[in-house]
């Protein structure tokens, strides 16, 4: 089962893709995706309901968040009320330790994304400030990476023993599915996804040329 774990819709300030258009694109282009996760910037969208689209297109659509920390951007899967109140999703300088701790305490999974990117990537901050405790997963394939960024991420993830996943980081419809994650088990819910991520039963995939 293949899911794009990192996408943005018009709910993000810089997103230009409507969720139904993502679905249409996946089916029209026959992309090998079984679903995707919406990771809106600095917020958790607890109002949108995509169940009708899931039924119409036969896709799994889950919701998560992309938050900003002093060590770059972090995807958070399994956001709940406790986590929303544990730190300020809108801030751009959340201490990463607090985000990782809060996610663990609230039953969520936090994973740095595009870690090889300057300014907003985990490993760029490692160079200056040293590594942090509590990181298990990082996004090694990101659809918005510049040449060399993913290679750097993959090498550093291996060095630190982090498991790598993939996501397109799409902000427009045609970018969805550039990178994704293939799971060994069927995923039907956020709980399934978090269990698979915690268990390491997945591989990062990329279709970038």
């Amino acid at each position: 089962m293949i899911l794009d774990l990192h996408t943005h819709s018009v709910r993000s300030d810089d997103g230009r893709a409507k969720v139904d258009n993502y679905c249409q694109w996946i089916r029209k282009k026959e992309l090998p995706l079984d679903g995707f996760v919406l990771t809106e910037h600095r917020q958790y969208d607890d109002t949108s309901d995509y169940r009708d689209l899931e039924d119409q297109y036969g896709l799994l659509i889950l919701k998560a968040s992309e938050v900003e920390t002093d060590y770059g951007h972090v995807l958070v899967f399994g956001v709940n009320d406790d986590l929303v109140h544990a730190f300020d999703f809108a801030r751009v300088d959340n201490p990463i330790g607090e985000v990782l701790d809060a996610a663990r305490r609230c039953g969520a999974v936090a994973a740095p994304c595009h870690p090889g990117r300057v300014n907003v990537g985990l490993f760029a901050h490692y160079e200056a400030k040293g590594p942090v405790e509590g990181v298990d997963l990082v996004e090694i394939y990101n659809g918005g990476s510049r040449p060399g960024e993913d290679e750097f991420s993959e090498a550093r993830a291996a060095e630190f023993g982090y498991k790598g996943f993939g996501g397109s980081d799409s902000h427009i419809v045609s970018r969805i599915g550039y990178c994704a994650t293939e799971f060994e088990d069927p995923i039907g819910s956020m709980d399934d996804l978090m269990a698979a991520l915690r268990g390491g039963r997945f591989e990062a995939r990329t279709w970038r040329t």
């Binding site: 951007h73 751009v92 300088d93 990117r117 300014n119 907003v120």
Partner: protein
């Protein structure tokens, strides 16, 4: 993080209308705009069409008399770029209409990216016709670079 208290800026400025400008709507301008956009639907290109109206992006070219309100703080390090406009249409705009645009600061926020921390200032123009009907909004994002 941007070296400024953005919450204080939001508290002071968001929602305050700082410019009001009228824009009369001319049929030929509507046609010219639609044609320049490559539009072929007659309701946007033919004044004789029973449903002739402005192309959805038409209002995006109108600008307020000021970029920011008087007294608005200098944010960032002076370098800025145009972050684009988002248009939302609520009703048709017809030739002969006189639109009144009220402009306010809709949001001020920061975010981080490859180039560091950036501050976004969102200006919202709300267009109402001569009947008082809201017909469109245009959100324009100014992006201010910081040294963060």
């Amino acid at each position: 993080m941007a070296n400024v208290d953005l919450q204080a800026v939001r508290d002071e400025w968001v929602g305050k209308v700082y410019d009001t400008t009228e824009f009369p709507i001319d049929a030929q301008h509507l046609v010219d705009w639609a044609v320049a956009c490559g539009e072929t639907e007659s309701r946007f290109t033919e004044p004789d069409d029973a449903d002739f109206q402005a192309h959805p992006g038409y209002v995006s070219h109108f600008t307020a008399g000021r970029w920011t309100p008087k007294g608005f703080p200098e944010l960032g390090n002076g370098r800025g770029v145009d972050g684009g406009k988002a248009v939302e249409i609520f009703g048709p705009i017809r030739p002969g209409d006189v639109l009144t645009a009220s402009t306010e600061i809709a949001d001020v926020y920061d975010k981080t990216g490859r180039s560091g921390t950036m501050i976004f200032v969102v200006n919202r123009m709300t267009f109402r016709n001569q009947h008082g009907d809201k017909v469109a909004t245009v959100d324009w994002r100014q992006i201010r670079a910081t040294d963060g």
